[in-house]
């Protein structure tokens, strides 16, 4: 048990912090938040500085944390262009990796991961997009997706659709993942505006009308994609935990800075109630960090533990909203006129995306039970 990050990871952390402080200034962060546009220049800069490095997962994790500590919307935007990549890395074939993954890792293309539709989010098997096999072996994709990150800017999506009806008690069967290019005929995307937070990220609704998907764009085996999606979430949730951790830490940084800044004018920083607030928030953040790193450590040693992962995601997300809320309540008007108001809006998504807190709790309880039963 070693609680120090290895030197190379610590170096990435420092570099990420410096980058974020330099690039995500409060003015820039406010601007993208206000305009609700994707910061493509920041994506490019982050890429050229090497932060999108899937061969160094610890580096990506601490970079995510440090980025979101300064600004979550910009921070995620800097790393999210490769969203969904793990699914091709794990289940895709060599041609797919070459054609779709490599350009993303070279910073030339953007990917997205499209599961949710207007009728089903938590209930992944309840999605309604369909794939129908054509005579020539290709498929026709029909239906819609919503809330898709990178939706209006991605070049291609790893997308889940139903390829065959499933028996009522085995709803997770018959789901297939395909790679859909945004320039394929019949594909349309429309940005969804009016998000509460994370407004620098692009979110869109996708529609498919007889989009022809060549057979070679099926990832893995037809009908087995529910398993791929769950495997993906077991990875991505750790990065969400890191986002949440960054937000919580960033809120805490701002509290500390505030307490310093008011010292000459007020003794509020010496109040015991203030010290308790500091201690309570700090303790939760520390716990969330340990849980996140523990789950990451299992995963990055190729021994993922879904219980640890879901505990980390659930707890870190809750810590983000807890920290921001407590701190804002304390800072009051002094808080809502600064960065913290954006942190308040950004933090809430952590409890919703890539598995709501309720879904995480169901996974934790069910997986623990399975472990007990030795399944």
């Amino acid at each position: 048990m070693d609680f120090e990050l290895p030197e190379d990871v610590a170096a990435v952390r420092k570099k990420a912090r410096d980058f974020a402080l330099r690039e995500f200034t409060p003015e820039v962060a406010s601007m993208y938040d206000r305009e609700e546009t994707y910061p493509d220049d920041i994506r490019r800069k982050a890429f050229s500085e090497g932060f999108l490095d899937m061969s160094n997962p610890w580096g990506m994790l601490v970079a995510m944390e440090e980025f979101c500590r300064v600004d979550a919307g910009l921070g995620l935007s800097a790393i999210v262009p490769a969203f969904g990549s793990e699914v091709v890395m794990l289940f895709g074939n060599e041609e797919q990796k070459k054609k779709y993954l490599d350009p993303v890792l070279r910073g030339e293309k953007i990917s997205g991961f499209a599961i949710t539709d207007s009728g089903a989010g938590s209930d992944v098997a309840g999605i309604s997009a369909t794939l129908q096999k054509n005579g020539d072996g290709s498929y026709s994709l029909n239906g819609q997706k919503t809330f898709i990150t990178n939706g209006a800017i991605a070049d291609h999506f790893y997308l889940l659709a139903r390829s065959s009806p499933a028996p009522a008690d085995k709803r997770h069967r018959g789901l297939t993942m395909v790679i859909v290019e945004s320039k394929m005929p019949g594909f349309t995307a429309a940005q969804l505006k009016g998000k509460l937070g994370m407004r620098a990220t692009n979110t869109a609704e996708l529609n498919f009308s007889n989009v022809r998907i060549p057979a070679e764009n099926v990832i893995g085996e037809e009908g087995r994609a529910f398993y791929y999606v769950m495997t993906f979430f077991n990875i991505s949730r750790i990065y969400v935990a890191a986002q949440a951790l960054g937000i919580a830490q960033g809120a805490f940084d701002r509290l500390r800075a505030y307490l310093q800044s008011v010292k000459g004018r007020s003794d509020i920083s010496r109040w015991e109630s203030t010290q308790f607030l500091v201690a309570e928030v700090a303790s939760r953040i520390e716990a969330a960090r340990l849980l996140t790193y523990r789950a990451a450590s299992h995963l990055f040693k190729f021994n993922p533990d879904p219980v640890s992962t879901s505990i980390a995601k659930y707890y870190a997300a809750e810590t983000a909203t807890y920290a921001v809320t407590r701190i804002l309540e304390f800072m009051g008007a002094d808080g809502i006129t600064g960065d913290l108001e954006r942190f308040y809006r950004d933090s809430k998504i952590m409890e919703i995306w890539e598995g709501t807190s309720e879904v995480e709790k169901l996974i934790i309880a069910r997986m623990l039970e399975e472990k007990e039963e030795g399944k």
């Binding site: 406010s30 949710t116 009728g119 089903a120 989010g121 938590s122 209930d123 309840g126 919503t146 809330f147 969804l192 505006k193 009016g194 998000k195 509460l196 937070g197 008011v262 004018r265 007020s266 509020i268 109040w271 015991e272 109630s273 909203t321 809320t325 804002l328 309540e329 304390f330 800072m331 009051g332 008007a333 002094d334 808080g335 809502i336 006129t337 600064g338 108001e341 954006r342 308040y344 809006r345 809430k348 998504i349 409890e351 919703i352 995306w353 709501t356 807190s357 309720e358 709790k361």
Partner: protein, 361 residues
């Protein structure tokens, strides 16, 4: 809780007004402000001078009716409820202390009729540290200075208090006020929120009165704690109701959300908490500082949690403007920050209970 006939009448008038005039434009209000015609109708209904005595053209509603009005408006548009609170509780509530002054009386009349709107410098109420910076040049009573927290900065006049050794004076500035920066707006986006500087000449400013002790603005605010609680109540009720309705239609895994115990329990617990607080608010409507603090502290906290729960039940949909939950979520948090200061409220409540020697370390 028993409503009087006056309360009943007010409640149905407020509901009818909100249904007809507000429901359809609640999202627009957030984007482009409260339309003038709506304010005109509010004035006609007596809502802008709800608490003002009738000799000033006010509706002289009792406290309960006023709270019912705010609760109802907050359900539809917290921005509009806040505007109403600002005009009644803070502006008229400050002016009324000096109602014998002709200028104050005239201002109350104008606010009630909708002819003019007022606002106040909030700094002394809301900030942990900042006082506004005001200087008065005595000879000619010109007022200059700046303030960091002004909601509705484009009001026709601005009230500010100026403390000196003997007490505090209330000034009304009818000109010479300029917004120097826009503040970020977590909530109540239907109103402006900015930093202002002012340099009002003798002709543009009026000294409405002076008294010893606390400023009348802070007296008005603390007398208005119940009003804040009523807005929070409206937000909590509305968000819980919307989540309950959503839970009846949204299905996951083949079942309606309401069928899942965690969803149903959290909604019913939140409903229970809100109902108990509602009872408290109306049964203590005529109470003193302590009751006001209790209601405000507990109800604003409950509103934050209710709006959060509602967003959670709405899932991804809740995160987008269209469902309006995100608006209540922001407003709930902004409400406490813009109507006072939690740290000083907690201290005041402790003093009420334990005496002035308490809560000092």
């Amino acid at each position: 809780m028993k409503l009087t006939e006056e309360n009943q009448l007010l409640l149905s008038a407020a509901r009818e007004f909100a249904e007809r005039e507000v429901r359809g434009i609640a999202v627009d209000i957030e984007r482009s402000g409260i339309p003038q015609p709506v304010l005109g109708k509010m004035a006609e209904m007596g809502f802008l001078g709800a608490t003002a005595p009738d000799r000033f053209g006010g509706a002289s509603l009792g406290t309960t009716s006023y709270l019912l009005l705010l609760e109802t408006l907050a359900r539809y548009s917290p921005s509009l409820a806040f505007y109403t609170y600002l005009q009644n509780t803070l502006v008229i509530g400050s002016l009324i202390h000096f109602q014998d002054s002709e200028a104050a009386g005239e201002s109350i009349r104008d606010v009630s009729s909708g002819k003019r709107s007022g606002t106040v410098v909030l700094d002394e109420l809301v900030s942990n540290t900042e006082g506004s910076n005001v200087s008065i040049s005595d000879g000619d009573r010109a007022v200059s200075g700046s303030a960091g927290f002004v909601m509705h900065p484009d009001a026709s006049f601005l009230l500010l208090s100026h403390a000196d050794a003997e007490g505090s004076s209330l000034f009304q500035l009818n000109g010479g006020v300029k917004q120097t920066a826009e503040n970020r707006r977590l909530g109540f986006r239907g109103l402006g929120f900015g930093r202002v500087s002012f340099a009002a000449s003798k002709e543009e400013s009026a000294l409405l009165g002076r008294k010893s002790g606390q400023s009348v603005i802070s007296l008005a605010a603390s007398a208005g704690s119940m009003a804040v609680a009523a807005i929070a109540l409206g937000i909590a009720e509305e968000t819980v109701d919307r989540a309950a309705a959503y839970s009846k239609t949204r299905k996951t895994f083949g079942s309606r959300l309401e069928e899942y115990r965690p969803v149903a329990y959290s909604l019913s617990s939140m409903m229970a908490e809100t109902e108990v607080l509602r009872e408290y608010i109306y049964s203590s409507a005529g109470g003193g500082e302590k009751e006001g603090l209790i209601a405000k502290l507990l109800m604003t906290d409950a509103a934050v949690r209710a709006s959060k729960l509602s967003m959670q039940v709405h899932g991804g949909n809740g995160y987008f403007e269209e469902y309006q939950i995100e608006k209540y979520y922001r407003d709930a948090m902004a409400l406490e920050a813009l109507t006072g200061n939690r740290n000083s409220d907690l201290g005041s409540l402790a003093h009420q209970m334990l005496g002035s020697g308490s809560a000092s370390i």
